[in-house]
């Protein structure tokens, strides 16, 4: 649950628009430069990903894979309810998702062997096991070598319009860094919660006292400073100028500001997503992919429920996730965006079948139900199963690499690609894994 942020250079830092420096303090050009050289993948239905990460490890045995016939210390207090897909049941506190099960797929046999928070987060977000012990990451992002999914997608697919390619909401994802790809593939981070009534993205606002006229003067000054002064300079492509210009366009163009302006949504829509951080982040994520973002990672904490978990699961955590996820999928569907937007909701692990003696459940990575929607997946089904106690998969287990392979596959990203670190080490964008059968 502790996921603070200390990037070496974050995209947020790179996007201090309108605060200091030339062109409103903008270093976005560097980002835009690299986005322009990004390769494109194979043709695919999915153009974007919304990745809802329930940090701490959601108790999916109480949400998506209930065991009503198990002993009370395993099945817990919640009852299963039927869904709009005959034969598929979910937990009683997920009634909204129950109504859209025809649009989603429950992967119940997700399984891996990393029971740590930091290490599990690292594994799920990069596809590589952490080189540090859990709790010893020493800062965020903790994926200093391996790039996160968002960074890979950012590099492979590149931008769509004047909108950040890779965004973290509302806070930096603990393992959401760019790794050896460098800061140009770091996420754009809001560091403010869209549930706040005064929510706005400061990076897209001119600093107090800086008018658009003043910004324009700064731009012209920059143009004079960057004017080639020698033959050598003249031979150098005016790359930075080009990207400063694009950054300028992004500040002055309405697209980005409009995408982040969640206040434009009606009260009814905002209510539909729920006035929670997860709900409003999901709504903002929809606006961002609609505007062109490729990967929006939502970091939602507080799922590490070791003690007396049932009141908070019932009152806060599950209803928040149920409402946000179902509203997101439904909204995307209604807007015709679901096919082009892959939605995944998962945590770094599930929780133990056995309720502990303090009425909570502990870490359990051997089973977790992962929710999939959109992006052209086969919907309305359940893939995989767990045993009578939800302790182990009884069908083929699908690990982190399989999830990532499938995600990349749906985006048309070539999963056989390898990049080389500055020290010459080849790092495949995904280490093994396969596309999950039945999901595509």
């Amino acid at each position: 649950m502790y996921h603070n942020y200390c990037d070496r250079i974050s995209r947020r830092q790179a996007l201090r628009l309108g605060s200091v420096g030339l062109i409103g303090g903008l270093t976005l050009p560097r980002l835009l430069e690299l986005e322009a050289v990004a390769g494109t993948g194979k043709p695919a239905k999915a153009k974007s990903v919304i990745f809802l990460f329930l940090e701490g490890g959601p108790s999916t045995i109480d949400m998506w894979d209930l065991k009503p016939d198990a002993p009370v210390e395993i099945r817990g207090p919640y009852k299963p309810i039927s869904t709009n897909v005959p034969g598929t049941f979910v937990g009683e506190h997920c009634p909204l998702t129950a109504r859209i099960c025809d649009k989603i797929t429950l992967l119940r046999s997700h399984s891996h062997k990393d029971n740590g928070h930091n290490t599990g987060y690292h594994y799920c977000m990069t596809g590589y096991k952490a080189a540090f012990a859990d709790g010893q990451a020493g800062g965020a992002p903790n994926n200093l070598l391996y790039p996160s999914l968002g960074s890979i997608v950012s590099r492979e697919l590149g931008p769509r319009g004047n909108i950040p390619v890779y965004v973290n909401l509302p806070d930096p994802m603990e393992s959401g860094g760019p790794g050896f790809y460098g800061p140009e593939y770091a996420p754009f981070v809001l560091e403010t919660d869209p549930v706040q009534p005064d929510f706005e993205v400061r990076d897209l606002r001119l600093a107090p006292g800086v008018s658009t006229e003043r910004l324009d003067r700064r731009r012209r000054l920059l143009g004079l400073m960057e004017k080639p002064s020698s033959a050598g300079d003249r031979n150098r492509p005016a790359v930075m100028s080009t990207y400063y210009e694009k950054a300028y366009q992004m500040i002055t163009a309405p697209d980005a500001r409009k995408a982040f302006d969640i206040a434009q949504e009606s009260d009814k829509v905002r209510e539909r997503y729920g006035h929670t951080s997860l709900g409003q982040c999901s709504l903002l994520a929809r606006r961002l992919v609609e505007a062109g973002s490729r990967f929006v990672g939502i970091d939602n904490g507080s799922w590490d429920t070791h003690f007396s978990q049932f009141p908070s699961l019932k009152e806060d955590l599950i209803p928040s996730a149920d409402r946000a996820f179902s509203a997101l999928v439904t909204d995307l569907h209604e807007r015709g965006l679901l096919d082009s937007t892959l939605v995944i909701m998962m945590g770094e692990m599930g929780r133990t079948p056995q309720i502990n003696n303090r009425a909570g459940r502990d870490h359990w990575s051997m089973t977790q139900t992962v929710l999939w929607a959109g992006g052209g997946i086969q919907a309305g089904q359940v893939i995989g199963a767990t045993d009578k106690h939800c302790a182990f998969p009884t069908t083929e287990p699908y690990g982190v690499e399989d999830v990532i392979c499938t995600l990349f596959h749906k985006l048309g990203v070539d999963t056989t690609k390898t990049y080389t670190t500055p020290l010459g080490r080849p790092v495949p964008i995904v280490s093994g894994g396969k596309v999950i059968p039945g999901l595509v």
Partner: protein, 806 residues
């Protein structure tokens, strides 16, 4: 089904227990002998019925009032990675008066407190003999220190705080500034000295907990600045310090290191400026006579530097140390047993290229010898290591550090007749110098009859129950006679149940103990009982240990030990929702469901209050004081969550319960009960935000201005928002404003601000406007905005008043 889960949950609950009071700090942390000092005691989990125990009865500490409110950590706060750094507990300050007799020698005075829940840790108050200067609560950016020498009592009370002092010298010469930063909550102090032009003259950081010292050559009639801060720019109310600034020499060592009482000896006094008064390490030799009847372990004396007189202290022992032989030739460095040598590791050994001294000892097969190198007690920079080589040059024994000290010692049984080499070296890495002194002690264990004692500094014994005092004894020598233990001055109703016949079990020999072939070191558990009808009370007790060996009786005392007879807790407090927590919005009041379980037949009311030791995000989170009436076992405990808390970090708060209970003698005491777990809150964005358009507002005295404000609110907050000016502690007359109410359908408003007329208000100021909505009619939701102002004098009056603002 839920009942079954609750039963399961009950199995793993934390045992109910009292919350013992703790001492955090004293401010000011020092006082001059012969004065009475009003202080604030930084208390953790004290109750109104505290007893104070001073280890030195000459000094008196009298509580003069009740504890104040919890002092929440003020801004600024660390966010991100550094937010996870452990923070000291939150204190409530208790006013007290400390009376120091005029004949009190300088040094630390230890003290403890106790209540019906147990005894506290040991606190420290320093007694000095120099002029004292206390950093006031509010002050200018730089404080002028009256004159040297001086002791400054200060504190680094918040993150990023830097204390600046300015002082003047009247004469040229060496100035020494010493920072003691471990008197309250320990911090790593950083000292820096600059001249009047701001040029850095010297700086030092306390990285090992021994304080920081800087020295520099001062000019006559010059001004200098000294800064104190934490090395990491941390801060806390408990970061109290004592900064001593003196002009004159600074003694670092004497040779010999130890003198016997009643003897006159030539002593080489080593230190900075002891001969010339300038910034260089030098020595001066003088004759020192130690009176035969002097008490204590050391002897302070005055010596002549040539140009002035200065103070030094030398350790006392049964015999004066011999000096290290001047020759480096091993044959000239043969020692006899027993012996005590004062030596210096001031050069590098040609073979091993590190500071190393070699000695030889003639020993016979079967001798039990103990070699010990002391440095810590001498305040020497040396980190000694000792090696014993056989006559054939084979390493037989080696030790670097003994437990809890850098000193080294080895004990071994001589395997064969011969000449053994003893190597003493310095592992500190510090440049060797004449300050690198050490003592080498060689003892024949067969001839030694002595022992050491170790025990905790406090013990709590429940009334009607018992507790064990673990006493560690370490025999020096080869004797095995019984050590008798007793405890003097137990609290009324307490008694020692039994004393084991022999300490058990012996532990393996280590450097500071005798060989393992005979039992020597052991642990004794003294069982102390408190009668069922005993009152709740405490006493400073003394452990007395006696052994008689060969008709010689040796007695050692250990103490004081604060022994308390305590009342069992009467309540257990538990949050209905723990890990994971409920979602709570920033700036709101979270009514946490708290369960109260009454114990031991108690049926009365219980007061809930914050515990001093808090957890994540203690940045302004405030728990209330709430009385839970009799027969009520679940309440909503209000916790206010400031609007600046991080949303990517759960917040936690610990609460304790306090019950008023009569002890068996009818004395009403306050009995605490710890919380089982903690209240956890998952933070999300605020429901209410108050803001103003950022701009520079220039106002004049007595002017009324309108400040436009924007009130943003969540659809979940429909209550009336009340806007009001927050009183400014530093400038209480800066401005006044009538409160404004903002309805749910209103997003903007203005507040009228009337600036005060006091000319001292001129300058850059700010006012804080607070918006408050009572959610559900009960729970405050708060947002604040700070409006900067530039206050000017009206042009018509500009000539009349001088401007004083920055």
């Amino acid at each position: 089904m839920l009942n079954a889960l609750l039963i399961i949950a009950l199995l793993g609950q934390v045992a109910a227990q009292n919350v013992r009071p703790q001492i955090g700090y004293v401010y000011p942390p020092s006082g001059r002998a012969g004065t009475t000092v009003d202080v604030q005691l930084g208390s953790y989990d004290w109750t109104p019925d505290m007893q104070v125990f001073v280890h030195d009865p000459r000094l008196n500490i009298q509580l003069t009032g009740p504890a104040g409110e919890f002092i929440l950590t003020p801004p600024p706060y660390w966010f991100g990675t550094k937010a996870g750094i452990a923070q000291p507990p939150l204190a409530r300050e208790v006013p007290a008066r400390i009376t120091i007799p005029s004949d009190m020698p300088p040094g630390p005075i230890r003290w403890q407190v106790a209540n019906a829940n147990g005894g506290s840790n040991v606190g420290t108050f320093m007694v000095g003999d120099l002029a004292e200067f206390i950093e006031p609560e509010k002050h200018a950016a730089t404080l002028d220190v009256p004159s040297l020498p001086v002791v400054i009592s200060g504190r680094i009370s918040r993150i990023t705080e830097i204390d600046n002092y300015r002082f003047k010298t009247t004469a040229a010469g060496l100035v020494t500034c010493r920072l003691d930063d471990r008197l309250g909550q320990p911090f790593s102090g950083m000292l820096s000295v600059r001249d009047a032009n701001g040029a850095l003259l010297a700086d030092a950081a306390d990285t090992i907990g021994g304080g920081a010292v800087v020295m520099f050559d001062a000019l006559a009639d010059s001004t200098y600045m000294i800064q104190v801060r934490d090395i990491d720019f941390a801060g806390d109310r408990g970061y109290v310090y004592r900064l001593t600034i003196e002009q004159g020499p600074r003694v670092v060592a004497t040779l010999p290191c130890v003198l016997a009482r009643g003897k006159k000896t030539q002593v080489e006094i080593m230190g900075w400026g002891v001969a010339t008064g300038s910034l260089q390490l030098e020595s001066i030799t003088q004759s020192v006579s130690v009176p035969a009847n002097v008490a204590g372990d050391d002897y302070p004396f005055i010596f002549d530097t040539g140009s002035s007189r200065a103070r030094a202290t030398i350790l006392l022992g049964e015999e004066s140390d011999s000096l290290e032989p001047e020759s480096n030739e091993p044959t000239q460095r043969q020692l006899t047993v027993p012996t005590a040598i004062s030596g210096i590791l001031d050069h590098l050994d040609a073979d091993v290229q590190m500071p190393l001294d070699r000695y030889t000892v003639v020993a016979k097969k079967g001798d039990s010898l103990r070699f010990k190198v002391e440095a810590a007690r001498l305040n020497s920079p040396v980190d000694p290591s000792i090696v014993v080589l056989s006559p054939a040059g084979k390493e037989l024994a080696r030790n670097d550090d003994l437990p809890d000290t850098v000193d080294a010692a080895v004990v071994f049984v001589v395997p064969e007749d011969g000449v053994y080499e003893i190597q003493v070296s310095d592992c500190s890495g510090v440049e060797p110098s004449r300050a690198s002194v050490y003592r080498l002690l060689i003892e024949d264990l067969e001839s030694i009859v002595d022992f050491t004692l170790q025990a905790p500094d406090r013990l709590d014994v429940p009334i009607g129950g018992q507790a064990e005092l673990v006493v560690k004894t370490a025999r020096r020598g080869t004797w095995d006679e019984r050590i008798e233990l007793k405890i003097d001055n137990l609290p009324l109703g307490a008694s020692v149940l039994e004393v084991p016949a022999k300490p058990t079990p012996p532990t393996p020999a280590k450097g500071d103990q005798r060989p393992a072939k005979k039992p020597g070191t052991g642990e004794v558990k003294l069982t102390i009982t408190a009668a069922a009808d005993a009152s709740a009370g405490s006493q400073l007790a003394t452990l007395v240990a006696t052994a008689t060996v060969n008709d010689r009786t040796i007695e050692h005392r250990f103490g004081p030990i604060l022994i308390s007879t305590t009342l069992k807790t009467r309540c257990k407090v538990k949050s209905a929702v723990q890990d994971g927590g409920r979602i709570v919005n920033r700036g709101t009041t979270y009514p946490a469901d708290v369960l109260i379980e009454r114990l031991e037949g108690f049926e009365g009311s219980i007061q809930l209050q914050m515990a001093s030791a808090q957890q994540r995000q203690r940045r302004g989170i405030r728990g209330s004081e709430l009385i839970v009436p009799a027969r009520v076992d679940q309440v909503q405990y209000p916790v206010f969550m400031p609007e600046w808390l991080e949303t990517n970090l759960t917040a936690r708060i610990n609460v304790i319960g306090v019950a008023k209970v009569a002890d068996p003698k009818g004395n009403v005491r306050h009995v605490t009960g710890i919380m089982d777990g903690f209240i956890v809150m998952s933070l999300e964005g605020a429901l209410l935000k108050l803001s103003h358009e950022p701009s520079e507002r220039v106002v004049t005295l007595e002017e009324t201005i309108e400040i436009p404000l924007k009130v943003s609110r969540s659809v979940r907050l429909n209550e009336v928002v009340r806007l009001a000016l927050v009183p400014d502690e530093n400038h209480p007359h800066l401005a006044v404003a009538e409160p404004v109410n903002v309805l749910a359908n209103e997003g903007t408003t203005t507040i009228s601000l009337r600036i005060g007329k006091d000319p001292t208000l001129v300058g850059q100021r700010s006012v804080t406007i607070r918006a408050t909505a009572m959610q559900n009619g009960r729970w405050p939701t708060v947002s604040e905005t700070i409006v900067p102002l530039v206050v000017q004098i009206p042009s018509a009056a500009a000539e009349k008043f001088p401007t004083t603002g920055p």
